[in-house]
């Protein structure tokens, strides 16, 4: 029988599962309930209770054994919400315990490659959001944006927009996960979105959207037309929240 450790979906829960599974010779995987769809007959479910004492120990150990940057990397991979994140992180930490901080130089090791490529995919989306997120100005001068990213980016992009728009309140709404980041001009909080976010488009807002579309069209050099190239940079699936590609 192989053991699958089920945790509650939080980062502390994942680390608690790592803690419990550490010495298990029959270890198979670490999953959340929703990731646990293909249960095989030879797998035994172990429910993990989230224990912050355990997760704090692991966090401290990661920081001293591999470094703070690696802890951040692990957290980003956790935020990808991909179904194999538990396993990738566990295996990465196992190697870390054997080899220490050099593991980040072992670029051809499959377990290191897994975590690095997951991180790269996540960070690529973060960079894209910095550029492609679009705000609307609501009637009360609050900035409002909708995003629907593949990975859970809200926590990671909020500090960037908080710094850029210091003093200018905004709301970023992840419509896929129904959560939102709310910034009062100084600090931001993450919360569930609910469905009563104020949205009525002012005339001035419509005008600025049209201006932006007109501007992009005026910039296009027809002799260099290359829609394929444009699509490489902005795949169709990303365009839904971008003003210039709407209507």
């Amino acid at each position: 029988m192989l053991n699958v450790y089920i945790y509650d979906g939080t980062f502390e829960g994942l680390l608690s599962a790592v803690f419990e599974a550490w010495k298990d010779k029959d270890f198979s995987d670490i999953r959340t309930e929703s990731e646990n769809t293909d249960m095989s007959l030879i797998e035994n479910m172990v429910n993990v209770t989230t224990d912050t004492l355990k997760s704090d120990r692991i966090t401290k150990w990661i920081k001293s054994k591999i470094g703070f940057e690696s802890l951040k990397k692990i957290y980003r991979v956790y935020l990808t919400e991909r179904s194999d994140r538990g396993r990738i992180i566990f295996r990465y930490l196992k190697i870390a315990s054997a080899a220490g901080s050099v593991i980040d130089d072992l670029l051809t090791h499959p377990d290191i490659m897994n975590i690095n490529s997951a991180d790269r995919l996540f960070s690529r989306e973060t960079m894209r959001l910095h550029g492609f997120l679009r705000f609307e100005v609501l009637a009360n001068d609050v900035l409002y944006a909708e995003i629907s990213p593949e990975y859970n980016q809200l926590e990671i992009i909020s500090p960037f927009f908080a710094d850029r728009f210091l003093g200018n309140p905004w709301i970023i709404h992840d419509t896929k996960r129904d959560i939102a980041a709310i910034f009062d001009g100084e600090h931001f909080i993450l919360t569930e979105a609910g469905n009563n976010l104020p949205r009525s488009e002012t005339k001035s807002e419509r005008n600025y959207k049209e201006m932006w579309k007109g501007y992009l069209s005026a910039l296009t050099i027809k002799e260099r037309m290359n829609l394929k190239l444009q699509q490489q940079f902005i795949p169709y699936k990303i365009r839904m929240n971008m003003t210039e590609f709407q209507n």
Partner: protein, 453 residues
Amino acid sequence: MITNILQEKLNILSAAAKYDVSCASSGVDRRGSKTPGSIGNSVSCGICHSFTADGRCVSLLKVLQSNDCVFDCKYCISRRSSDTPRASFSPREVAMITYEFYRRNYIEGLFLSSAVYVSPDNTMEMMCETVRLLRQEYNFFGYIHIKAIPGADPVLIERAGRLADRISVNIELPSESSLSALAPQKKKDNILSSMKYITGRIEEDKRGILKLSDNLPDIVNSGMPASYGTSDVRHRHFVPGGQSTQMIIGATPDTDYQIMGLAESLYTKLQLKRVYYSAYIPVVNNPALPSVGSEPPLLREHRLYQADWLLRFYRFKAKELLDEKNPNLSLKYDPKCDWALRNYGIFPIEVNKADYDTLLRIPGIGQKSAARIITTRKYASLGFDDLKKLGVVLKRAQFFITCRGRTMDRVKLEPGFAEANLSLDKRAVPVFANYEQLSLFDMNANLLNTGDF
């Protein structure tokens, strides 16, 4: 207040600016300001906010202050003798649009250029006022790139540099003869002296000895946070993002050898951050220029950028790539590949032993792969499978390397072999429509164009 007039102006003055490609938003790190009523920060890697249908990145609001020009440069759509609609922005109009686009996260900031409206000084004054309004009234601390009009008073260039993140003077054409033939009102001396002045001030700023003149807007006290150019430790006051320039390629018979030679001296002698190459898009019929409707030299522009990258990041010298006998870059192969085939004697290179600079010379190995090779081989020697995992393009590199003393299967270490196989590789030899650019300086073609015959 948006009106149709404002929208019209924006369309005219951004369409007129679209051929200026030096519009990156990179080079400056600046955090947000706590001053109430302020907005904006800057990241040194720059951010792409959108892409136009021609595949080019949009990161700034790129506009002309005015397209009502007193000059008559033969290649330009805004030249005095052209009959295009004219418009001018007031400084406040530009500041307002910049601010409104910025807060919607459409842009990183402003790229402000202009036609020569009445005079270079008059134009620069308007542009400086635009930028001053943005910094001091709108408390806008996002990215600003301003063009310096050649021939403008150094006091105005000084003012602009104190307010902007990057400044550029367009060198326009690669040689003095081209410049005097096509843009006689733009004097090479004016261009160069403006560029040298800027270089000097940047140098003083970096060394912390910039003397700040009186009567200039005091940005520091208006709440703008400290700005840093890449790898600056000291807080910068004068264009922290440095100086760049642009030249048009394909409008004149200047060779790549001349172009890259010029670019190299701009980098080494004037410490420019970037040189941009803009493929000439024929917009006007003139016997001295390629005719309207002829293919713009996009592949050549691409090759020039590749050569430019080799100079800046791969430690190549221009004379290694081009000389009087081979004055133009190969269209068939990228410049690095071409150099490798012509210098085959130094290959094969053993990837487990070569230093960073040598690894950089191998086609298919870029800066990132070279760095990864050096990092990873400390712990174990690398085989071809490992190289693939590290991002090396083996399809190209295989003809130039050994791993642990051996070549890849079936690879013969002869230049002819490499060349024959590289020709088959679609990625190595791009398929651009019509890349065999016909010589448009053929005498017969000129005669037909003038309509005299």
